[in-house]
């Protein structure tokens, strides 16, 4: 009963638009096939609605990144690419990085960063933007 409440809560996790055309998808908790399908739909609809050019998929809240999770991420990235949206993965912990290597998981061409900050910087760079201090230029 409690687990169900958590899953329902997480399914309502919003996708913040962290910058113009930069959408963030936090993935948290357990992923079953129904959830992954809903997440994919939500992400793609969000990309269309916001004309997003970058989707930052943050997996800090995912305890174990196994083949199933990796496959789900790859699917989101491929579909996003077809919609003209780059996928950036953030929040990979050192432990998960080791697990993925041990499992032989290949995330292909997906750019990965350990922190959201770095992922956001990469997203802005993709849009031809960078952050400057007020005193510069």
């Amino acid at each position: 009963m409690e687990r169900e409440a958590v899953v329902t809560e997480v399914m309502r996790t919003p996708m913040p638009l962290v910058w113009d055309q930069v959408l963030m998808l936090p993935i948290v908790g357990l992923l079953d096939s129904e959830r992954t399908q809903k997440i994919l739909e939500m992400a793609l609809n969000g990309i269309q609605e916001h004309r997003a050019k970058v989707l930052i998929v943050d997996v800090m809240g995912v305890m174990v990144i196994d083949e199933a999770v990796a496959s789900h991420i790859l699917k989101i990235a491929a579909a996003a690419k077809l919609m003209g949206c780059l996928c950036i993965l953030t929040g990979v912990s050192p432990q998960n990085a080791r697990t993925m290597v041990e499992l032989g998981i290949d995330l292909g061409n997906i750019h990965t960063h350990s922190t959201l900050r770095d992922g956001l910087e990469a997203a802005l760079a993709h849009l031809g933007l960078r952050v400057v201090g007020k005193r510069e230029g």
């Binding site: 793609l44 269309q48 004309r51 579909a79 077809l82 919609m83 003209g84």
Partner: protein
């Protein structure tokens, strides 16, 4: 299908159900037009297409390869959520083609690809 010339680019708008007849027309007509006009770039607008089966996806992919041999870059645009998800499920090679969300973005992507080809 609607073909529209913009400078040395061609914008092809596909619509509705891409049945075999329609898709064969694309396979024949598009390379012929590109050859005739010496187009350097092609944008295939899929915003009016809700669904593609494996055959249609394959024909579009092969047509893009043929266009490349004719010296033209191809960019897909307007693929919506449903179409994107089903193309991924089909494991379509279309995922390897450059794609943009909207026509304006597709033009930018196309110009960049053409620039690189010239180098």
């Amino acid at each position: 299908m609607n073909l529209m010339a913009e400078a040395d680019n061609l914008v092809v708008t596909l619509r509705g159900d891409l049945d075999d007849e329609y898709i064969d027309l694309l396979r024949e007509r598009l390379p012929a037009e590109v050859g005739r006009r010496r187009s350097r770039g092609v944008i295939i607008d899929l915003s009016a297409v809700d669904f593609m089966d494996a055959h249609a996806a394959r024909v579009v992919e092969e047509t893009a390869k043929a266009l490349s041999l004719l010296g033209a870059e191809t960019v897909l645009c307007g693929i919506g959520p449903g179409l994107a998800a089903s193309l991924v499920d089909l494991q379509s090679g279309l995922a390897r083609l450059p794609a943009a969300g909207w026509l304006e973005d597709a033009r930018d992507v196309l110009e960049e690809l053409k620039r690189r080809r010239r180098v």
